[in-house]
Symmetry: C2
Subunit: 222 residues, 2 copies
Amino acid sequence: MQNLTEQAITAADKTFFQLRKDIVEGVVLAGSKLSETELSTKYGVSRAVIREAINRLEACHIVERKANVGARVVSLSPEGLVDLYQVRESLEGMAARLAAQNMSDDEIADLNALLNVHSQDVKNHGSYYQEAGDVDFHYRIILGSKNNHLIAMLVNGIYHLVRMYRVQLGMSGPRVSTAFDEHKHIVQAISNRDGELAEMLMRRHILYSKNNIQRKLAPEQM
Amino acid sequence: MQNLTEQAITAADKTFFQLRKDIVEGVVLAGSKLSETELSTKYGVSRAVIREAINRLEACHIVERKANVGARVVSLSPEGLVDLYQVRESLEGMAARLAAQNMSDDEIADLNALLNVHSQDVKNHGSYYQEAGDVDFHYRIILGSKNNHLIAMLVNGIYHLVRMYRVQLGMSGPRVSTAFDEHKHIVQAISNRDGELAEMLMRRHILYSKNNIQRKLAPEQM
DNA sequence: CTTTGCTATATTGTCGACAACATTAGGTTG
DNA sequence: CAACCTAATGTTGTCGACAATATAGCAAAG
């Protein structure tokens, strides 16, 4: 897929990645309690590494812990979605601004090439795009900001929660071609080194995306 | 001081708070290695709670860990300062926008009252302001956003790092009266429920603040 | 004298056991 | 019968010991 390769060295790493995956993909249900002993047997490691994994998950707001009581997976809610996307709008907007300022010409050329590939994919299949392509696009701009703080917050923190909402609410459908146009305009602004516009367009893009998910969410129960 | 009262229940909490304080205030030097056994004897707790404290500090970007090697306190650098303040500009700008939209009339009245107190303090002593008052002001707007994600990121994450830079670079000096005017304008925008302007002004305010610190930083060695 | 490989040491990672705390079930009293 | 207190149970928090890994120092070969 893309270069999002975080490699696990220690057992706590592996358990953290696995548990995060299971939560994001709904194998471990949102809102459910995380029993340390139970997970310990399930993943075949000691309670210590389970505790470390849970602590890391707490740091990215995927689980909530109460002292002497335990940890629960966060519950998905419309309010939580709004909060999350507001933060995302703010941070990725800044990322786009900084990318326009800090990406190399080569990186921008690569980004344009990526868009062309996506353009073909949209015309042909019309499907593949949303999951992999969208993530890839945003990921490149985030890295293009060259701001390590920002990168860490988005890649390690926000993005897995975003994916959790998307996966568990069954996002995959349309908004493909319109989103593609928005991506295109953002890259144009970056190519012109217009950080101000790039930020604005990215913020709008994420706002629309939020509205789209909310619209799908409204009629259903949560 | 203010209502930033995080209460420690478990031993890991206490150790985390104490260690964070020691790092932020420079008792534990920036860039230094954190030996688990050493800290274990120093704080009189087992290595397990030290490890948990270090993990939490890693989550707020105050220390960096490498597998099988250990943890180091982050080094303060001009680049790190810029990265940090860009993130802060982005998030607190959004906080101001949301505060204009979500604070109650009473809360806004309180905020105005706070500014009046500060106005007096600036006229009389001219000192007290910067540390406590500034933090208090920003803190209220962050809470006023009513966005729990944003609040958590800023209060638990960003702010201690900001304080670390300020304390260890000996910030306390001037920029009092000009900063006060900026605060005043921000509150006016919030009072008018003008989120767009509030965000803009907050971002400028933080940008100026960064430039001010950088100016003080430039001639010295780091 | 430099470089390479090994050994010794120290540090981190992992584990199982014990202690402290919260919760629930049951009994007693008003 | 209701409310409160108490005891039993299960979970989390903390600890010390062991295993695995990295680092530094030393020895030997080129």
